[in-house]
């Protein structure tokens, strides 16, 4: 295909988009509505992943070291922890430092802790975070196998529940996305089908003068893509404005419980998803609706 032919397709697609003004507007509105739902899902999914990531990165366990461990053994334990793939951060907490933190936190009942500085009952420990909570069990087994580790303070039930919840959220998000993709294709293909039906005579004439399937399909696909892009622009404006408004009105309330992504963090990704979604769905929808008319 030469550049002139491609220009012809673009011009034909644009002409048709503007010529079928009302029909195009109806299609754009339908596509926008569908992409708004998709956009809401994208934001919901991004924030869920962000929340899951926060839980994963902030979850901490404490590894206590044998009472009699000397500095060389502590060093070896740290090396051993460093070799475990799923460990994200390692922080050493000396027993003196732990006692100080305890005393600071018990400032109101300081008398109860008097004399502990001379006979510190606490142990040296490591605080670690995981890269992926899903593999927490395997990682804990590896930690237990390190010589000098006395015991691990770990709320395993909480970990299991968190892993289960984030896993379920990720899986359901995927099916949710598939569901919206199918719904969108269905809506767009029906919108284009109306255009194709209104122009079936033109398609028929094209076939009889020897037009190839692609020659017939491309202007419709370009029209579908234009509808998709315009729909994506409208939906991106609506969804990002609504998200910004939501954050500004409920932000303070939500910040105390869960951290949400800022508008600036989501806008680019949202536009990319909606534009990509609009283009793919527009092209797919139009070619699906044309299939029947091409077999003349």
């Amino acid at each position: 295909m030469n550049s002139k032919t491609f220009k012809f397709f673009i011009v034909e697609g644009l002409k048709s988009f503007f010529k079928n003004g009302l029909l195009s507007a109806a299609s754009v509105i339908t596509v926008s509505l569908s992409l708004i739902l998709f956009g809401v899902y994208v934001l919901f999914s991004m924030n869920l992943n962000y929340a899951a990531m926060q839980i994963e990165t902030n979850y901490e366990i404490q590894i206590f070291i044998d009472e009699n461990a000397d500095s060389s053994l502590i060093g070896q334990i740290e090396l051993g922890l460093g070799e475990i793939e799923n460990i994200n951060t390692i922080t050493f907490v000396a027993k003196g430092q732990a006692l100080k933190q305890w005393i600071d936190s018990m400032a109101d009942n300081i008398e109860a802790l008097e004399g502990l500085e001379d006979d510190n009952p606490l142990r040296d420990s490591f605080r670690i975070t995981f890269k992926n909570l899903q593999y927490a069990d395997e990682t804990l087994s590896e930690i237990k196998a390190i010589q000098g580790v006395s015991y691990i303070k770990n709320n395993k039930d909480v970990v299991d529940k968190l892993v289960d919840i984030t896993d379920k959220i990720k899986k359901s998000s995927f099916y949710f996305m598939l569901f919206f993709a199918v719904i969108s294709i269905f809506i767009i293909s029906n919108s284009i089908r109306i255009t194709v039906f209104a122009r079936r005579r033109e398609v028929n004439i094209m076939k009889f003068v020897g037009a190839t399937d692609w020659f017939i399909r491309l202007p419709f696909m370009i029209e579908g893509i234009i509808i998709g892009i315009v729909g994506a622009i409208i939906s991106a404006i609506i969804v990002s404005s609504a998200y910004g408004y939501f954050l500004s009105t409920t932000g303070v309330l939500i910040e105390t419980t869960v951290k949400l992504l800022k508008t600036g963090q989501v806008t680019r990704i949202l536009i990319a998803y909606l534009a990509g979604g609009g283009i793919v769905l527009g092209a797919l929808g139009s070619s699906l609706s044309l299939r029947k008319h091409l077999y003349v």
Partner: protein
């Protein structure tokens, strides 16, 4: 050039539209296919256009067996045919010039080729002065002339006219048939499906008459001679 080799066409509802039909039309011939409504005339054009496939027998156009033609090859085959229909089949939103240019654009003709070919073909059908007009502003005869210009702009070796005068008054109909004869004189094979007796009688060309799906006459003469 056009060869129907013992063609039978039976539709899904059981109707036999053509029953063991055979004829050969040579290069440069002008042939009328006549018969009453439902005789099977339109099935012949449908088979030539590859809209339908024969149940038995074979159709060969320019040596191409249409039975072996894939969906992908169909457009390239159809480019060897010029088609004119009773209802003109022009694009209402395009001007006369654009309607004719469209037939060239589908074949990837360059802008230069299009600019060169269209004035010639418009002059041939006597519509040079109406190139910027849309089909809705033309009379039936003029619309059929545009359809003829569109069919001929790519110089196809075969022109199929399916009831080209069906929507026209007798005088205009005769003008269109004369245009078809002019085209034929330039070397194009013309196959005209019609039931306009007066025109067929005047032209004294080869006539293939179909009745109940069978050829009952094939020879030079008028409609009922």
């Amino acid at each position: 050039m056009i060869f129907f080799n013992n063609v039978t066409k039976q539709y899904e509802n059981g109707t036999v539209a053509l029953d063991n039909v055979g004829f050969f039309i040579d290069k440069g011939e002008f042939v009328f296919i006549v018969g009453s409504s439902g005789a099977g005339k339109s099935t012949i054009t449908k088979l030539i256009l590859c809209e339908e496939q024969p149940t038995n027998g074979s159709v060969l156009i320019n040596g191409i067996d249409l039975k072996g033609l894939s969906h992908r090859e169909m457009p390239y085959y159809r480019r060897q045919l010029g088609m004119v229909f009773q209802d003109f089949r022009l694009l209402p939103n395009k001007t006369v010039y654009e309607n004719i240019a469209f037939a060239m654009q589908v074949r990837n003709a360059t802008a230069k080729e299009i600019r060169r070919a269209i004035p010639n073909v418009l002059s041939m059908v006597g519509l040079s002065h109406k190139s910027k007009v849309k089909p809705g502003q033309l009379s039936g005869g003029e619309q059929q002339r545009v359809a003829l210009a569109r069919a001929m702009v790519n110089n196809p070796p075969v022109l199929i006219a399916d009831e080209p005068t069906g929507n026209l008054d007798p005088a205009t109909a005769f003008e269109i048939i004369q245009l078809l004869e002019d085209i034929n004189k330039r070397g194009t094979t013309v196959l005209t499906v019609t039931h306009a007796c007066d025109i067929v009688d005047k032209m004294k060309k080869r006539v293939i008459e179909i009745d109940n799906g069978k050829i009952i006459r094939d020879g030079v003469g008028g409609y009922n001679i």
